[in-house]
């Protein structure tokens, strides 16, 4: 292993200092394209090459965003949307984890639950909207329920699948050391299913953001979805784009929080990119050739 690191230094010194001087952090590379496109757009709008009313330049979007932020209006909308997502995500993921665990651990539970849930899953979640409005009214409850339904299915499927795919061989290690059922769950099952559970929660969160927009389209007086509808009715494309930028920021930020919170528990994963990949049950096996 030490040999490998020292041999890695060789080409760097042989290739002189050029690569060092130009080395850029990887995340910065991802900025090149959006910033370049934004600049191009800005220039195009300024010279009238594109219709600035339909496609307002970044500077205009920035101004609108700033105005909304200063007036405090933005925060009202952000808070309303965040609360809906949070409530819907909490309910949906909790239900998904509980029912997913039942369905994964017990074959009786699976036989009872899975057919019904799979059938319900075939209904596009948005199709519930008319029913939810009649059942829960047009205010918060129906919105939160819709988001929860959207979050529920990926989490349920992810947790069930994670439990079912736990390696029988490491369960047997628990048997050899005569772990009680509870200890087996705590010391083997939970850590083993955590990575796939986090992946499914991230998927659920993404859907939560999708459905919050749908729910706010169906009638809301505040929220980022309302900002979108309002922008459409007033013909204010800058407001629409400002809301989209806010959505992007919030979606990425909440995902990053989820990843950040769970990362310490997932450091053991034997994958190229633990953040993006599903768990690798063969991770127990060493990969490098040295002994």
């Amino acid at each position: 292993m030490t040999d490998q690191t020292s041999s890695l230094d060789v080409p760097a010194t042989a290739g002189a200092h050029v690569p060092r001087r130009w080395s850029v952090p990887v995340w910065a590379l991802g900025l090149i394209l959006p910033i370049g496109l934004a600049l191009l757009h800005e220039i195009a709008a300024r010279y009238g090459w594109v219709n600035a009313r339909l496609l307002p330049p970044p500077s205009r979007i920035g101004q609108t965003l700033w105005a909304l932020a200063v007036s405090g209006e933005l925060w009202t909308h952000v808070l309303a949307t965040l609360l809906r997502v949070a409530a819907g995500f909490a309910c949906g993921s909790l239900a998904g984890i509980v029912l997913g665990a039942l369905s994964g651990v017990s074959s009786l539970g699976r036989a009872l639950l899975d057919p019904l849930l799979q059938a319900l899953r075939a209904i596009p979640s948005i199709a519930w909207v008319p029913l939810f409005i009649l059942w829960f009214g047009i205010f918060e409850t129906s919105k939160v329920v819709l988001i929860a339904v959207g979050v529920f299915f990926p989490v349920y499927l992810g947790v069930t699948g994670a439990i079912l795919s736990v390696d029988r061989k490491i369960i047997e290690v628990g048997r050899v050391f005569r772990l009680s059922k509870l200890a087996l769950i705590r010391r083997i099952l939970l850590p083993a299913v955590l990575p796939a559970t986090v992946t499914s929660l991230r998927g659920g969160l993404g859907l939560g953001w999708m459905f919050v927009v749908a729910s706010e389209f169906m009638g809301a007086s505040e929220g980022l979805g309302y900002l979108l509808v309002d922008g459409q009715q007033l013909g204010r494309t800058d407001q629409i784009l400002a809301a989209l930028v806010t959505f992007a920021t919030l979606g990425k930020a909440t995902d990053a929080v989820l990843v950040g919170v769970t990362r310490p528990f997932l450091r053991w994963q034997d994958t190229v990119n633990a953040e993006a990949a599903s768990p690798d049950p063969a991770g127990a096996r060493g990969r490098s050739g040295e002994t």
């Binding site: 050899v176 005569r178 010391r187 850590p191 053991w268 127990a284 050739g289 002994t291």
Partner: protein, 261 residues
């Protein structure tokens, strides 16, 4: 120490994995079991470990019936089966977490030393090579101080050099912990290198057909003539078990009685 009396195992699909097997293993003995694939050697080991139940017959450790994993029995599988989210030290301590922390730490430190992995305590399994991982698995079984250690082809996935090295380490560990050892292998040389006694099994139905005592002391020189002869004896027994008419246990014992090396 270990006694297997008239044990048969018939799988639900009707396959006779083991047919009326009798075997006794003495305290501190190293027994290796060789045989072609499908001869029931792994099945026998799983029964000894209490992981599966025999269809009929009795298995006892220390005069206690084995019907589930037993505290006196440790098992090392073909794969290391380490828990990937625990580091090396935590993996080794996995089966002794009921002991006081200080005792756990002392046993882990001693084991790491014996398997030559001092300083690896807080590495994760993904950072180990196959040989290192298997050594950790052996340490995990041994720190619980089992009276019997069962090993199911523990080195079959390793390269010959690593395998040779680990055979030496197993003997060192055996000297330190003095467990009774039963090891399944498909490698005649490995069987002779480690064992006090080599059991040869044949298939259809799975049964014991021969038994070779290895009396030479340890360490054993694999280049030695007597080692070569013992190995040849095991190989010819294996050959007979796989291709030959397949003797019953009776003539096996008469043959075995004459085969002291």
């Amino acid at each position: 120490m270990l006694s297997i009396r008239d044990v048969s195992k018939i799988y639900p699909n009707g396959v006779k994995a083991l047919n009326r097997v009798d075997l006794a293993v003495e305290q501190g003995e190293i027994l290796t079991i060789v045989g072609g694939s499908g001869c029931g050697k792994s099945t026998l080991l799983r029964l000894l470990g209490g992981l599966d139940l025999p269809t009929s017959g009795l298995i006892e450790v220390d005069k206690e019936r084995v019907s589930a994993p037993h505290p006196a029995i440790g098992i090392v599988f073909q794969e290391p089966r380490l828990l990937p989210w625990l580091d090396v030290a935590q993996n080794i301590a996995f089966g002794i977490d009921q002991l006081p922390k200080a005792e756990q730490a002392a046993r882990v430190a001693q084991a790491l030393n014996l398997i030559g992995l001092e300083g690896y305590g807080n590495r994760l399994p993904k950072e180990l090579s196959g040989g290192q991982a298997q050594r950790v698995a052996i340490a995990r079984a041994l720190v619980a101080k089992p009276k019997v250690l069962l090993m199911d082809e523990p080195f079959s996935a390793l390269d010959p050099l690593t395998r040779h090295e680990l055979q030496g380490q197993v003997i060192a560990l055996w000297k330190a912990y003095k467990p009774t050892m039963v090891m399944v292998t498909h490698d005649a040389e490995e069987a002779v290198a480690l064992a006090d006694r080599v059991i040869v099994m044949a298939s259809k139905p799975g049964r014991i057909v021969d038994e070779i005592l290895i009396v030479s002391g340890r360490p054993r020189d694999k280049l030695d003539d007597s080692f070569e002869m013992a190995k040849r004896r095991v190989l010819s027994a294996l050959d007979q078990a796989v291709h030959g008419t397949g003797g019953s246990r009776k003539n096996a014992q008469s043959a075995g009685a004459g085969s002291w090396w």
